[in-house]
């Protein structure tokens, strides 16, 4: 019961069989519900991510994939539910989590260099008000090197191509030296060479003991990229090893019209201006 949504249509998949919400899980989400302007976007999410895995988060537009990441990071208030990172509240574990937002979410005309952006991943470790020391610059340069962008360190970010900008974002996450990486569409709008380089990097991260969860769009590559997938459409439709879960039936459930009732209910709730918080509790 521990790993999956308790709704009957969800596919139960034992990943790390055993105790409920294990301590070692990089990310456990318990009964989390999220609402925007009182319209629910995620219902009763219940997940335990396995360690050392490359996890794909798949679902149609508006399924709440980005919202899932943002709510874990506390960027969006939760209507209900609890999130644990390596067995402790996220607030205590921030330094172990690196976040890669969508590339379009920032203004790339900002007057900073590629290295400056990567150094942002070190700011918290540098500390408030202090200047950035040489060690931090070295770590940032190493991160740039890992994504093949060391030659572009001094380049202003607006002069980089989309794929290069995405690599800079990845380098910033690498510079954080985290254990859990949450990435929002790192493959969106990048060229084939960059995509290859990024996936190789993510596999490297996995084999060095990190856990990487990636919001992904391209269904064709899911099988070769991820060991584990989360099929998401406002709720967890299916979750587990890619080979078992990434089936046509589950995809139909995720992308098809089977969830119209849930969507309609959400619309009705929004119309009635009812508080989701109360609704989910009285359920």
């Amino acid at each position: 019961m521990s790993l999956t949504n308790t709704r009957p249509e969800a596919t139960p998949l034992p990943l790390s069989q055993g105790e409920e919400h294990s301590e070692s899980s990089p990310l456990s989400i318990h009964d989390m519900t999220i609402a925007y302007h009182r319209k629910p976007v995620l219902w009763d999410i219940d997940l335990d991510l396995p360690e050392h895995h490359l996890i794909g988060i798949i679902g149609p537009n508006g399924a709440g994939k980005s919202t899932l990441l943002k709510s874990v990071l506390g960027l969006i208030p939760r209507a209900s539910g609890r999130v644990l990172v390596y067995g402790k509240p996220f607030d205590e574990q921030r330094h172990r989590v690196a976040y890669v937002p969508q590339r379009e979410s920032v203004d790339w005309d900002f007057p900073v260099s590629a290295l400056d952006v990567v150094l942002m991943g070190r700011y918290k470790r540098v500390g408030w008000c202090l200047p950035i020391g040489r060690t931090h610059k070295k770590i940032a340069m190493e991160a740039l090197d890992k994504v093949g962008m060391a030659d572009y360190a001094r380049r202003q970010i607006s002069q980089l191509s989309g794929g290069q900008q995405q690599r800079i974002f990845l380098a910033r996450a690498l510079a954080q030296d985290a254990d859990l990486y949450l990435m929002d569409e790192p493959f969106a709008g990048v060229d084939a060479a960059t995509e290859k380089a990024i996936i190789a990097l993510l596999k490297d991260l996995k084999s060095s003991g990190k856990t990487v969860a990636v919001v992904h769009h391209d269904l064709q590559t899911v099988g070769s990229y991820f060991d584990t997938v989360i099929l998401l459409n406002m709720r967890v439709v299916a979750y587990g090893p890619t080979a078992e879960v990434f089936t046509e039936e589950n995809l139909n459930k995720t992308y098809g019209g089977k969830l119209t009732l849930l969507t309609d209910a959400a619309e009705a709730l929004a119309r009635n201006q009812a508080s989701i918080h109360r609704e989910t509790k009285s359920e």
């Binding site: 960027l75 920032v106 007057p111 942002m120 700011y123």
Partner: protein, 478 residues
Amino acid sequence: MNVHLRIIAAALILAIPGIASAAGHHLALPSASDLWRVLSLQDYNTRVVILGTTMLGGAAGLIGTFLLLRKRSLLSDSIAHATLPGIAAAFIVVSLFGGDGKNLVGLLLGAAAFGTLGMGSVLLISKYSRLKDDAALGIVLSVFFGLGVSLLQLATRLETGNSAGLNSFIYGKTASMLFRDAMLIGVSAAGVAVICALLYKEFTVLAFDQDFAAAQGYPTGILDFCMMALVVLVTVIGLQAVGLILIVAMLVTPPAAARFWSFDLRRVLVTSGIIGAASGLFGSAISALMPNLPAGAIIVLVGAFLFLLSFLFGSARGVIPQRLKNRQTSLKVEMQHLMRAFYELAEEDGAAEELEKHPVKFEQLLRERAWNSTQLKRILRRARRGEFLRVGADGDYSLTRAGGRQARKFIRNHRLWEMYLITHADIAPSHVDRDADQIEHVLDDAMIERLENLMNQTDRRLLPESPHVISSQKGEAS
């Protein structure tokens, strides 16, 4: 950039009535001794005013940069307008309690309180309603300013206290600046500079990527409030000098101008501070020389002038440096085309080996590409100046040694690239010439080396054959 241009234009328009009204008065040009007196800061009053406005300009330039990057420039206009009811209310309250209503400390505290209130209202409206930012800004600006005008009217009817002069906060009145006012500006400006330096990292990451900053655990709300509080502080200390209508120009113009000079935030910050300080310095100096000109408006105009200079000449993205760069590229491209034309003509006659000894007529060159005779003459003149070319007695052209070297290099790059496109990119040989034409001019040495290795053509003395019929492109011009 559009928003900033609009703000600067609006500030200019608002500055003009003040100057026009002054021009109606006696507007004498200053004498040389006046000029010296002002510039050497001999006069005590002038010294105070100039120091005050310079420090104000510097502080506004610094915090204005973060404001601009946070895309909150217009918020400062709402904050400035929201201070008016604060000034009027402070006057009324202090007067009613028997104090001196025009005590500056009371007035500025009132201004700061309402400025903060105005700022908070904008942020709350855009957070908790579905109104867009511009609507929230417009509502707050007009409502607070309307309230301020009403309260000012009320203040003039007050029996205690003399409200005359409160209006000067709308357009500013630098001449009334006292030493303690300049001190207040100086201390505040130093405070702004120190906080901007200390919170440089934090403000930067907040302005660049708010979600990332929040995920890192930065208290983005508090940081945002700090940034905006500094804006309120600069606005309030600038009210006296520049007035609440024009203060927005001091916060927006310097950073907008500074962005034309650098892509590096540290340099943009320093440049913006310097431009702001220079506007304050020269603006108040000009106004001291011609006492009928209102300092606030002149400061804004000087700032706008510096913006114009930056827009035209800024080394990073100024219009003229960019044009020059583009022109240089097109000159280079023309020269490469000319050199290649020489080589291909010689090759046609089987004289490629002795390129330099193969004279070519003007008409032959003209047929070689789609250029007209005026263009070709210009290019030939430049080639002669560069000593790539000499003119024979009969008016024929031939390449010099240097010219021949260049021609061989260009032709080689062109053909290597053509072959690469044919073998690696599946482009038909008949189309490859034009495709190569567009790319070859941007090839740098490293790329050429890679190309050579790929095509197994590392011996630079060898020139490959053209992979297509050269004469195919002929007749384009005729």
